[in-house]
Amino acid sequence: MNKVVDHVSEALTGIEDGMTIMLGGFGLCGIPENSIKELVKMGTKNLTCISNNAGVDDFGLGLLLQRKQIKKMISSYVGENEEFERQMLSGELEVDLIPQGSLAERCRAGGAGIPAFFTPAGYGTEVAEGKEVRVFNGKPHILESALTADFAIVKAWKGDTEGNLVFKATAMNFNPMMAMAGKITIAEVEELVPAGSLDPNFIHTPGIFVQRIFKGAVFEKRIEQRTVRKRA
């Protein structure tokens, strides 16, 4: 059983029009940028994309939005993307906005075989519309359901040939939960190492959640808000 594939095109085999895809990342941090570029090349259409953000106009998922490859976005925050806002307000793009914590927990639930759970987030708002409300300890909660995807595409710092992954700093974000929730999970990594190279005590995503792994060719890692302080 070999999970390692040599090229992104091989890794993305089987992704078809109309599928649901989860993509890790927060803003442009920790996004599977090689896979996104390949999806542009593939021209796959009518995708439902589950991702916390939608990239910016010319990077990340913004590239797929520009080419109208996305039918529906399931996200929590999309404020950085003008093309997104335009498509959404014009009705070209279906959008399901979800509280960030509920999005994270719904992905984890999907991967963990928990079909639904109660959370206080969104009670009394339009997020709660049509959802069951129940009071626990005097506080109203809404019932949220699990999210899964045909493919989950995540980006890790290092990965081994067994599919074990480790992430760096805040580039971890949604990647571990999405890795759990994909029927097929694809990991693009900066460093691909032999099994046994990673300390088994410090694996963020155990290989059981990963079906395919490849070393990304280029990581541009664009920064959205470069904030610095002057040296004294």
């Binding site: 927060f26 803003g27 442009l28 941090c29 920790g30 916390n52 996200s75 929590s76 925050y77 999309v78 404020g79 950085e80 806002e85 959404m88 307000l89 959008v95 906005l97 509280p99 960030q100 914590g101 509920s102 999005l103 994270a104 927990e105 992905c107 984890r108 959370t119 206080p120 987030a121 969104g122 009670y123 009394g124 708002t125 339009e126 997020v127 710092w157 992430f167 760096k168 700093a169 805040t170 580039a171 971890m172 974000n173 949604f174 990647n175 571990p176 939960m177 963020h204 890692k221 664009r222 920064i223 959205e224 808000q225 470069r226 904030t227 610095v228 302080r229 002057k230 040296r231």
Partner: protein, 218 residues
Amino acid sequence: MALDKIGIAKRIAQELQDGWYVNLGIGIPTLVANYVPEGMTVEFQSENGVLGMGPFPFEGEEDADLINAGKQTITVNPGAAFFDSATSFAMIRGQHVQLTVLGAMEVSQHGDIANWKIPGKMVKGMGGAMDLVASAENIIVAMMHSNKAGESKILPACTLPLTGVGCVKKVVTELAVLEIKNGAFHLIERAPGVPVEEIIAKTAGNLVVPEFVPEMVL
């Protein structure tokens, strides 16, 4: 005189307590981190997966893999920890974060808050705000008293789509500190030199004004 953004941040920093874990939203709230009272240890959590945020990096030391929830490059202090988004919101939803400070477009006298959407005009999404306001015991809103059109943001009821209901405990604006309880804003403090009348005039919601309203000490 009305406070500037730094003044608002300084006033909110007075609410901090030693040992607290605090989540700061984008904008004015972020500035609060610069004014932690001397001798006090406060850890800052950012919902994208970091505890123990430090100052911005020196020029040239930015790391694209290390950002805060506002997508700004940051650093971390010794003893920091990184974690995934589910764990991050476990901290928030599980009330392990003692204080949340965030901005708002509107706040109602019942503690409702709206800050994520203007129907037909602007939809940025709620991000982590709905989880934060639904979960935190202690929520302070940092914002301007009025919007750009000069209309009060301190209202009897929110007009915009809600982010959360009955959750805001305190509002700090350029003019005043308001506590929300029993369906009313209670005027606790006023900005140095700001007359009570101005605050009354600029507050659309039910405002309870005590006989003596102390000035903030910044």
